[in-house]
């Protein structure tokens, strides 16, 4: 595993001369060589190109050129976001590989590259950021580096496992119903879903046009701030991008939450079953936020069930529109999990879809009223740890009840998941902090303040331990 667990630490080491970008790239390659076959993080690796970029980054440092804190840092890209090095698969037999090649770098990848980052390769997902891992397809099965018998979450599976295992220091994920925050929670890392429209999503294979977000997955909130500083900003290529000023995210990381009012809800009434450790860990996490200076109050999220429903209706309907021609002619080329989820769209009418969009607006108004009384809202990311890979069929049928991420996709607010401890079998649990639209700075400020007072984010899995199935 890389000796640097965070982008911030590696960036400091690069500037002090303690390491070089080429060394960081070699560390990332060596760690990946050692563990990728077991963890299933990469679909495609770009070692040669990354080493060339690393040499350029070192040459730039030597010449006094410092493009950004990401200069010389090894990152990974979820394989539904296009890169110039090669095709994007969306982990599907259906997507035309030429699509990504024709596009070249997605806007976000172009921004990372211009900032001097190293693109180490493309990371595993679920088919079109939907579905479930499928043993019958020619793609790696993503596993959780904390225990290889467990799922890392999805759909940004490789982004979660890659950061947790040290194969990359940061990654791009996408979030339509929780696909950044869920693997972040399950893998014990930090994952930020920015406000809808904050980060251009052109160059990303669509799942839900009005729900898709691209965001950073990192060890720490500070690292997420560093990546968001590069990723954020309007681009006309995305019809959903919003032209809002991008603040200095790292300047907001004061470690002090004085003056902030935080609404808290554990959401146990919606969760079905909870991990036995969740209530205690959540109470402890809230106490940490309070100790950092925040005023904490109990709240109730308005229209929780309806916003989960609206996410489901909108996601499946928008995805079905994109996939319909292939559904009609290549049904069996889609993985069963993808077919199972997206075929729900056939139960909806056009009026139902529009009604979901009216419901989203109602909830936005109600949330706006709530955010007039609090600055942040804190919930668990999930009430349970990751499912075992053997139990994913069960997860598909009722496991979603324990997942508290889709609400914020429906409303468009920014939300981050940060590690808050360990549950059953030593698997990670996440704390979710959501804020007002375009106020990622306050979300990250609270996440960073929490991490200044805890060390959950600094813990790393002991890769190399045998799978439970092998014991």
């Amino acid at each position: 595993m890389s000796s640097y667990l965070s982008i911030s630490a590696a960036a400091a080491a690069l500037r002090s001369g303690e390491t070089t970008s080429v060394e960081l790239a070699h560390d990332a390659i060596t760690t990946t060589d050692a563990h990728d076959a077991a963890v299933g993080t990469f679909i495609t690796r770009y070692n040669d190109q990354a080493l060339e970029a690393a040499a350029q980054a070192d040459a730039d440092f030597a010449a006094g050129v410092d493009k950004s804190p990401l200069q010389g840092i090894p990152l990974g890209i979820k394989d539904i976001i296009t890169t110039a090095e090669g095709p994007s698969t969306a982990q599907s037999l259906v997507l035309d590989p030429q699509w990504g090649l024709d596009r070249g770098d997605a806007v976000v990848v172009s921004r990372l590259r211009s900032a001097g980052a190293l693109i180490m390769g493309k990371l595993t997902t679920m088919e079109f950021a939907c579905g479930l891992p499928d043993f019958d397809r020619p793609f790696p099965i993503p596993r959780n580096p904390w225990n290889l018998d467990y799922w890392p979450g999805g759909s940004s599976s490789g982004s979660g496992s890659g950061v947790a295992s040290g194969m990359v220091l940061g990654a791009l994920g996408t979030d339509t119903g929780g696909s950044i925050r869920l693997p972040a929670a399950y893998c014990g890392i930090t994952g930020l879903m920015p406000t809808f429209g904050r980060v251009p999503k052109s160059g990303c294979a669509p799942l839900g046009y009005s729900l898709d977000h691209i965001g950073p997955m990192t060890r720490t909130a500070r690292d997420a701030a560093l990546m968001l500083s590069v990723l954020a900003g309007y681009d006309a290529s995305d019809a959903c991008a919003v032209d809002v000023a991008v603040p200095d995210y790292t300047a907001a990381l004061t470690g002090d939450l004085s003056g902030l009012r935080i609404g808290v809800q554990r959401l146990e009434e919606y969760a079905g079953e909870e991990d036995p450790a969740l209530a205690g860990l959540f109470a402890d996490a809230v106490s940490v936020l309070s100790a950092a200076g925040a005023d904490v109050v109990e709240i109730s999220l308005p229209f929780y069930r309806e916003m989960v429903a609206a996410d489901f209706v909108t996601l499946t309907a928008e995805a079905a529109a994109y996939h319909m021609p292939d559904f009609q002619t290549r049904w069996s080329d889609y993985a069963p999990g993808t077919r199972s989820i997206l075929s729900m769209a056939f139960s909806f009418s056009a009026a139902d879809f529009v009604q979901a969009q009216r419901a989203r607006r109602v909830a936005q108004h109600a949330l706006n009223d709530l955010f007039a009384t609090v600055d942040l809202i804190v919930t668990p990311t999930s009430s349970k740890v990751a499912a075992r890979i053997d139990d994913l069929g069960e997860f598909l049928s009722d496991g979603f009840l324990s997942v508290h991420t889709p609400y914020w996709d429906s409303t468009g607010n920014p939300a981050v998941s940060i590690p808050m401890g360990f549950g059953v079998d030593g698997m990670p649990l996440g704390l979710q902090l959501a804020g007002r639209p375009f106020d990622e700075a306050t979300v990250l400020r609270a996440g960073d303040a929490f991490q200044q007072r805890t060390d959950w984010h600094a813990q790393a899995p002991a890769l190399g331990a045998p799978s439970l199935a092998e014991v």
Partner: protein, 63 residues
């Protein structure tokens, strides 16, 4: 809607209209889940305040 025969007929008609051909096992799963799916969608029509709300759709006069 919740009658098993009606759900089966409805789901098969919807799939036929969509032009997709799932396996019988997949159709059975869709039929089994159909009442819950419809109940979830129907809840969106009874939200307080939704009757006169505008939808959150994106459209600009210029492409």
């Amino acid at each position: 809607m919740t009658d098993k025969i009606d759900d089966d007929t409805t789901v098969r008609a919807l799939l036929q209209m969509a032009g997709v051909s799932p396996s019988e096992e997949e159709v059975a799963a869709m039929v089994a889940g159909f009442p819950a799916t419809r109940a979830m969608i129907d809840s969106l029509y009874s939200m307080p305040g939704v009757r006169y709300e505008e939808p959150a759709v994106i459209f600009h006069a210029k492409p």
